[in-house]
Symmetry: C2
Subunit: 345 residues, 2 copies
């Protein structure tokens, strides 16, 4: 019998369709391997083919925009938003618009062309996370921005236009709808219960056990109760932490280990599928008249986390029009495959 | 300069990215034509290969589940929800679930294998619309259901698993999230202004003109101000009408003409692309204790409409995680191409 399940964070019902139950081998094939002969602007030695870097982790003594880097952050050459200019907000009849001010950056995760994020060493992934953190801290100083989103598209079917492993960052003058909703859910829940809703979910998942993928000292990975997609995973810090940028540098290797573990499990179970992840953290703080701007974030009732979806099914019209997803793989089954995957780090 | 635009119905900001502006010829190729040698359960003569029909428009004197039909509605052989059983709602820790009771039907739009909905005659499309209407009226009598959604996936990339032209219907015991939000937007707006928000949008679009695709006597087709996708279209009745099921039968040919016109314009401009549409109408009425159940719907402040998206771009992680879309084709340009398309009916 199929089930309807409600996600208290996304405030969405999902159909878990057991009639169509699917195992890992039922899904479409792996990420296409790109023709290596093509020129890649993210490769070592091509630093002058990209816009100048805004941040890099590089060997001491090497100059910006030359080789010597491990992780490099550059503005997107074809940005969805533009960094220059004042924000103009205006009404147009019944509608609202503003000019597209924002930042759109690419985090090139390694100079090597070939490995995916999951293949990089734990130490190297920690450097990628350090780049995420530094860009968050830096861009929050710009009071035009309300939210900074870090995400990754892996594989063409997940929207990646270049195969060289990279993540992206978009800073926007608005808080995106689904993020705003999550922030409001956390705030409402806390105001009623004086407890974090994400912490409560972790407590329940630890008790139920059946959807757990992996428990680390500081992190938990599980298949959400109301997964919208087969083999979807959520990655939460186990202890309350509202802001990704507040994770101490000393803890980044542990975080990197847990992230690598999650990505390797996915790679093994679904044979290297395309995927997307988004890192959702508390928002930038709006400037207050007469107060100095504050680079941090004040929504302490939030709980930063990563949401990961493998792109192994097609999103149909039903789902798009209604926000009501049909998922053919119960998360308990997905978690079992992922938990039992043979992963070596 | 890119723009951020807000959709007052979907309560979402969209990036209209002029830096990446795309014309119709920039998009990926047309719908793949399926190998005709495969067996198709929707063809004439194969009526016994599907579950028994629940509705059909057929020649007088022909028996159910035999040839002689023009439009045929059957239960989905692999339903996402099951029609039998009581609704059991329960809490599971912090979560909520219910068993997956609902209806999942297929509207086979013609016995002919090959033509798409756009290719059918206006009279025939009117019969398809009549089937939609009759199924809505019939399923609303089942008080377990809160919402009945009619939608169409055209082409494999839009989620269609069979190429024989068909639409689908799902009746659910919950109101899907995005539909609920639209219903609430309309109710709030009306309660403040005593005007329908959809009627106000039509007034503005008629005044601005630049996003109009086609104006018929009773219908208007336009590219929404904050289109999430290239060449997205909305199809509204021009005069306030909350419920699709209340459209009189005599008006269905006019509606069919306008729908065919929209689909042909899309086919010409984007070279027969995959697409999805959803028909969004006022909801079924919840049963009230001590009152007879009512098949109709009472949310008079709503305005039924069709939302259509061509599937010519990939939905990336950014969009999925945030509900914040990047659209490379300004709707004013899309509308110009669609308006000027050479279409003959």
């Amino acid at each position: 019998m199929p089930e309807l399940r409600y996600d208290p964070i996304k405030t969405m019902w999902v159909i878990i369709s057991t009639e169509r139950a699917k195992r890992p081998t039922d899904f479409e094939p792996a990420v296409a391997v790109e023709d290596r002969s093509k020129f890649c602007p993210f490769d070592y030695g091509n630093e002058d083919k990209t816009p100048p870097e805004v941040f890099a982790i590089r060997k001491p003594g090497t100059a910006p925009d030359t080789p010597g880097w491990d992780v490099r952050v550059i503005p997107n050459k074809f940005p969805a938003l533009r960094i220059e200019g004042e924000l103009n907000r205006e009404g147009v009849g019944i509608y609202d618009r503003m000019n597209g001010v924002g930042a759109h950056e690419v985090i090139v995760e390694t100079p090597e062309h070939g490995p995916s994020l999951a293949d990089l060493s734990v130490d190297h992934i920690a450097k990628v996370l350090k780049a995420y953190k530094e860009r968050l801290i830096s861009l929050r100083k710009d009071t035009r921005f309300r939210y900074i989103l870090i995400f990754k598209n892996y594989g063409k079917r997940a929207g990646a236009s270049l195969s060289h492993t990279h993540s992206q960052l978009i800073a926007t003058p608005i808080t995106p709808k689904f993020v705003r909703e999550q922030l409001n859910v956390a705030k409402d829940y806390f105001s009623r219960k004086e407890r974090c809703i994400f912490c409560d979910i972790i407590r329940d998942e630890m008790r139920f056990k059946e959807r757990i993928v992996k428990i680390h000292d500081r992190y938990i990975v599980f298949a959400p109760f109301a997964s919208s997609f087969p083999f979807e995973m959520r990655f939460y810090p186990r202890y309350h932490s509202h802001d990704f940028a507040a994770v101490p540098d000393e803890e980044l290797p542990e975080l990197a280990y847990a992230l690598k573990d999650m990505l390797l499990r996915l790679k093994v179970v679904l044979n290297n599928p395309p995927y997307n992840f988004v890192l959702i953290t508390a928002p930038s703080t709006a400037p207050r008249p007469g107060k100095p701007s504050y680079w941090g974030t004040l929504q302490y009732d939030f709980h930063w986390h990563i949401e990961l979806i493998p792109r192994v099914t097609t999103i149909a019209g039903f789902e798009w029009g209604t926000g009501f997803y049909i998922n053919p793989t119960p998360p308990e089954e997905a978690a079992k495959y992922l938990r039992e995957a043979d992963v070596k780090i």
